[in-house]
Amino acid sequence: MIRDHAARIKHDLGKYVAFQARWLPDDPADDELREALVADLLSTRRGPDGSMDALQVWDAFRAPLVGDEPLEEVSVDLSEHRAFVELDQSMTALRVHVEALRAGEDIDLGLARAQALCVAQACTAFLNTFRELS
């Protein structure tokens, strides 16, 4: 069911992509924010078999939606669906921050945090679309 898929995206990606960053005050210290973003973006999903970064989590969810073998329940062309496109674009914008963090480069931490929060909101909006349809 696509609604369940969207619920999983919200839980596995939306909840954890800004999990620690969301708890920080509005103007956190740089090292604190960097530590939170590293945890949120590079270890987004943690399980007994190790962790996945935000891009890997999204790629795993994205494939059944618009890949060669879409979910059976998908009857609309999601590649043009507004909520999906916004989520996909927000992930594309996040990609640069994830890769830079992985490489240990300096990044605009405030911008990365804002983008992570944006992804979380897009996950909620994506689920809400299908919640309303069901």
Binding site: G14, R22, R46
Partner: protein, 543 residues
């Protein structure tokens, strides 16, 4: 400060909570319902609220509701709704325990679960939680808890038994039938009648209280029903009785068992007819009174013995009687009860004057007062004085038998607070000047005057000094035996017996006293077995 149990398959919430809200005490995270049930059992009513995640990625066999042979879809759903299943189980065992579900209400609806009707369940306002919103939510729950724990001078606490008593009294207060309160002296029967039953009875008349134990038998009837001039020797004028005075209101008769047979007959007549005649007067006056009676006697036994009228007993609505527990049975609420009693004591005008002097001498600005009982010492909050019952003082109160129940308890705590403050007013302060600590020695001194004090403890000057170093005094009779080992075992048996009686058979409390950890109750129990101590026999000593 709240005592919070976190049930979550990951460490993340726990880590963030500890970092962002260090003022609370956290347990866990525990990963499954089985672990949660164990943790709640060990905490023995001390958990204030539960933070519960919804989605649990845990091994199949740890999932609540797991059945062998379940397919991937069923398992997926079990994982996605695991928190909701755990919630239902917690509710069935702890109906009043507040639970914050770490999800939004909308997301629960998505799982087609209707939790609207479940009391004490809270949801996140937003889809994703942050420290500020969670802190606000926890504060709101704490306020609610405080609101239902105590009402004015009445402390209900959190035990299910006391919640049930409250509900029952609320219903009985509204009805026309009498209310019977059974309970040992000092359990708050009069307080409940005056401050709970009467205000909820919907009656505009007065609350009149009569303690039948303090009235001479020959005057009881005149006091209750009134009299006219010359009705009895010394009756120099007409007198309005308690029934008439309470007309339209509530009449509380304490120690109802003290009624003479004649007065019992007259009371029965008033209850049957709703009319009262003053002694020596033929005129009847109709009265509409909510009657509340109390006793610490077994009235049923008195009926069997023939000293209390069976028909009057039945008129008192014994089927709906309320039995108030002695204080020693309310141990789970002890820390909170200490806090409540301290707050009550500190609200008196006399205490305000002393407190002002203390603040001025020790330069503590502001006018806030906080209270705390238990093992942790809360951080200072600028402008406030903290009254602290440290763990060792709490243990002394826990170990006391409280023959005078709540009345004795409230007086002890008030004295403790008063003397602790008084001692510190002129003393030079070296530590935190915002903390007024009630030291164990002071508590021990106060308890030694109670009829419930252990006479062996009183006779132990030297041992008392030892307790200041962290121990607990006990006197044993050293008796000869064939080996040193047998002598030692005999002493140990006496010591464990005393400990059993002191803690009223609570092995967790014994473990706490001996090993500083109540989770080692089983170790203590095993030691009892090794020493050949029979718990069944010891239980008899507690009766």
């Amino acid at each position: 400060m709240a005592d919070i149990l976190i049930i979550d398959d990951q460490d993340r919430y726990a880590e963030l909570c500890r970092r962002a809200m260090p003022e609370h005490r956290y347990r866990g995270p525990v990963r499954s319902f089985r672990d949660a049930a164990e943790a709640l059992g060990r905490a023995r009513g001390r958990v204030d609220l539960v933070l519960l995640d919804v989605h649990f990625d845990i091994p199949d066999e740890d999932l609540l509701g797991f059945e062998p042979g379940a397919g991937p879809k069923q398992l997926d759903r079990l994982r996605r709704t695991q928190g909701l299943l755990i919630l239902q189980e917690i509710r069935s065992r702890y109906p009043d325990l507040p639970v914050i579900l770490m999800t939004s209400r909308e997301d629960v609806r998505l799982e087609e679960e209707d939790l609207d009707s479940i009391e004490y369940t809270f949801f996140l306002d937003d889809d994703y939680v942050d420290a500020r919103s969670l802190a606000t939510l926890i504060r709101g729950v704490e306020d609610q808890l405080r609101g239902r724990e105590s009402e004015g001078p009445i402390f209900w606490g959190r035990s299910l038994a006391m919640r049930q008593i409250r509900r029952r009294l609320e219903v009985l207060a509204l009805g026309r039938l009498p209310v019977v309160l059974f309970g040992p002296t000092g359990t708050g029967k009069s307080l409940l009648a005056r401050h709970f039953v009467h205000p909820r009875s919907g009656r505009a008349g007065q609350f009149i209280s009569v303690d039948l134990a303090t009235l001479p038998q020959e005057l009881i009837a005149a006091h209750l029903f009134g009299s006219v001039r010359g009705a009895y020797t010394g009756s120099v004028g007409d007198r309005v009785g308690a029934f008439e005075a309470a007309n339209g209101g509530t009449l509380f008769l304490d120690e109802i068992g003290n009624l003479s047979p004649e007065a019992q007959k007259m009371l029965l007549s008033v209850l049957q007819e709703g009319r009262v005649s003053r002694l020596g007067d033929l005129k009847e006056r109709s009265v509409d009174v909510k009657l509340v009676v109390a006793t610490n006697e077994d009235l049923k036994k008195r009926v069997r013995e023939g000293s209390f009228r069976a028909d009057l007993y039945m008129r008192l609505n014994p089927a709906a009687a309320v039995h108030l527990p002695p204080l020693r049975d309310r141990g789970h609420d002890l820390e909170r009860l200490i806090g409540h009693a301290m707050e009550r004591a500190l609200s008196s005008p006399a205490m305000a004057g002393l407190l002002a002097t203390y603040r001025s001498r020790h330069r503590v600005q502001g006018d806030a007062v906080r209270v705390h009982a238990g093992p942790d010492v809360p951080d200072d909050v600028p402008g406030s004085v903290l009254f602290l019952f440290p763990e060792r003082s709490v243990r002394l109160l826990r170990a006391h038998s409280w023959p005078g129940n709540l009345r004795e308890f409230a007086m002890t705590v008030e004295n403790a607070v008063l003397f602790a403050l008084g001692e510190l007013i002129d003393a030079p302060r070296t530590g935190r000047s915002d903390v007024v600590q009630v030291r164990p020695k002071l508590v021990r001194d106060l308890l030694s005057h109670s009829p419930g004090a252990d006479p062996l403890d009183e006779a132990q000057g030297e041992a008392d000094t030892a307790t200041e170093q962290g121990g607990w005094p006990v006197k044993v009779h050293v008796r000869q035996a064939s080996t040193l080992n047998k002598v030692a075992q005999d002493c140990e048996r006496q010591y464990f017996t005393r400990l059993y009686l002191r803690t009223r058979g609570d092995f967790s409390a014994m473990a706490d006293l001996l090993l500083g950890d109540e989770e080692h109750a089983r170790k203590v129990q095993l030691r009892f077995n090794q020493l050949g101590l029979k718990v069944r026999e010891l239980k008899e000593l507690l009766r």
